[in-house]
Symmetry: C2
Subunit: 301 residues, 2 copies
């Protein structure tokens, strides 16, 4: 199952017509803006409106480039929901002054979430500090930093959504590697203070995933979609596939998330060089078709 | 921490002199022959004898190329131990006839282990069949096949050593992804029937690794070493680093394995393009130096 981006899936699903704006199957779809990396906030908003996608997942960098207040107004004027802001985190520094800077930056991210009108800040907690092999220490520092941020976030109505990352990224991106581990941290806090992200790309391989999604229940703060493709593309950071191009059973995982009670938006978040090279509107059309084919039917069950 | 193969580690350890044959620090070192892929069985045997490495991990393909009986005699005549045979497995086929073929091939692998004088057959259970997204089914078939092989292996004094593979390989190589999952399967059988492989590359990221290594205890049938390097090399199958070149804390994991009671050979198994491109004797010298520096001291604790 190689990448067949911008084409019909190589696997079993049949082609579907692209739904029109207003199609109720799109009612919970959110476009994470990093799926179409070339688009500014303005282009993302316009593209979603044109295609009938009612929700967006925003990233801090393009929001900053467009201006925070301007971005917030564009999204609100367009009537779009903001399913999440990506991302806080990077809380594993060993030096106290660097950790203080990271905490300040995370407080700014919480403020930005408020301005943008989302209650969900995705947290990618960070990898090992350069030169360090102390994975236990990095995990402990991340956990301590989450605890320090919770009062600030709670006071502003923002939930910290811990994102377990594929173990592929344990060294350089996220030392929270499983849903179980993220829940162990999240459960120290109230349900509306700290949640978790269920991202199919990061978690599909986990033998205890069904039990952990059940356990997560109301802690599921975000449900994100990307496929696992083989061979793994050379750049591990751009290795996510469009749903249908890889090995993940989206019906099964969507069913677990629905059964756990999740009723929120479903974000398509794909980092993929081929998708990024395509015209944005073509990429979005492919994303919508795959979502309608592979995921939306299982949200209605 | 990039690959600095054939040089001193980029991290903390200080250079050590290469130990001479007979050095007691080499007493438990095993060279997995895939670490020096260009070497035949004869070259591997000669190289280990010259360097004072008392044990080898053999692979079926080079053994077949040299001849099974010839290989067994070479190893025995040289006075080397065979710490394991790699590998059985690939037991996830959905079609009954393909599964029957796989079982037959695994019985041959068990026979080869006996001939070569090892009681440990490493099992890489296989990935998803082509076109399948049924991870649960693939895992169940692998487990059923292990159960079917156990009586044959037990009667010949061979232990099946289940190898949990990094989740990176769940789709295309091994659907047993964690030590916990492998132990769930192994514990259906007697300790001397089914064990597990603790490979640092595959397992280092696991948040529950210390508890699972304790749980494994006498089920640890093999302890294998390779480092996790970043950025991940473009070919995910050749992404293992020489200990010291990456992010893994070998002292910590070796300590866990020792505390769990493991007293067997320690196999260095590295799939790495740079290492494979080097002269075999240079590669082996680097492997030995790193082992003596980073692992051997913690075996004596």
């Amino acid at each position: 199952m190689s990448t067949t981006v911008l084409d019909v899936p190589s696997g079993t699903p049949a082609r579907v017509a692209t739904p029109r704006p207003g199609d109720r199957r799109l009612g919970r779809l959110s476009l994470n803006q990093r799926s179409i990396a070339s688009w500014s906030v303005a282009q993302t908003v316009a593209g979603c409106v044109a295609a009938g996608v009612p929700s967006v997942g925003l990233w801090r960098e393009p929001v900053a480039a467009a201006g925070l207040a301007v971005s917030a107004r564009m999204v609100a004027d367009a009537g779009l929901r903001v399913s999440s802001l990506c991302r806080g985190g990077f809380l594993t520094a060993a030096e106290p002054e660097r950790q203080r800077d990271a905490l300040s930056d995370n407080r700014r991210a919480i403020d930005e979430a408020v301005t943008l009108g989302t209650d969900t800040l995705v947290m990618v907690v960070g990898g090992l500090p350069a030169g360090s092999r102390d994975l236990v220490g990095a995990r402990r520092r991340a956990e301590d930093a989450i605890a320090e941020l919770v009062p600030y976030a709670r006071a502003r109505g923002v939930r910290l959504a811990l994102e377990p990352m594929h173990p592929l990224y344990a060294a350089d991106r996220g030392v929270f590697s499983t849903l179980a581990q993220s829940l162990d941290v999240a459960e120290r806090f109230a349900v509306d203070e700290v949640g978790v992200v269920v991202d199919t790309f990061h978690l599909w391989w986990d033998p205890v995933l069904p039990a952990m999604i059940r356990r997560a229940g109301p802690r599921i703060a975000s449900f994100q979609l990307a496929d696992w493709i083989t061979p793994l593309p050379p750049d591990a950071l751009l290795s996510r596939g469009v749903p249908g191009d890889g090995h993940i059973d989206f019906a099964a995982i969507t069913g677990m998330v629905v059964d756990a009670g999740y009723r929120g938006d479903v974000e398509v978040e794909i980092f993929n060089g081929d998708l990024w090279a395509a015209a944005g509107s073509d990429a979005l059309e492919t994303i919508i078709r795959r979502y309608v084919e592979l995921v939306a039917p299982h949200l209605l069950a």
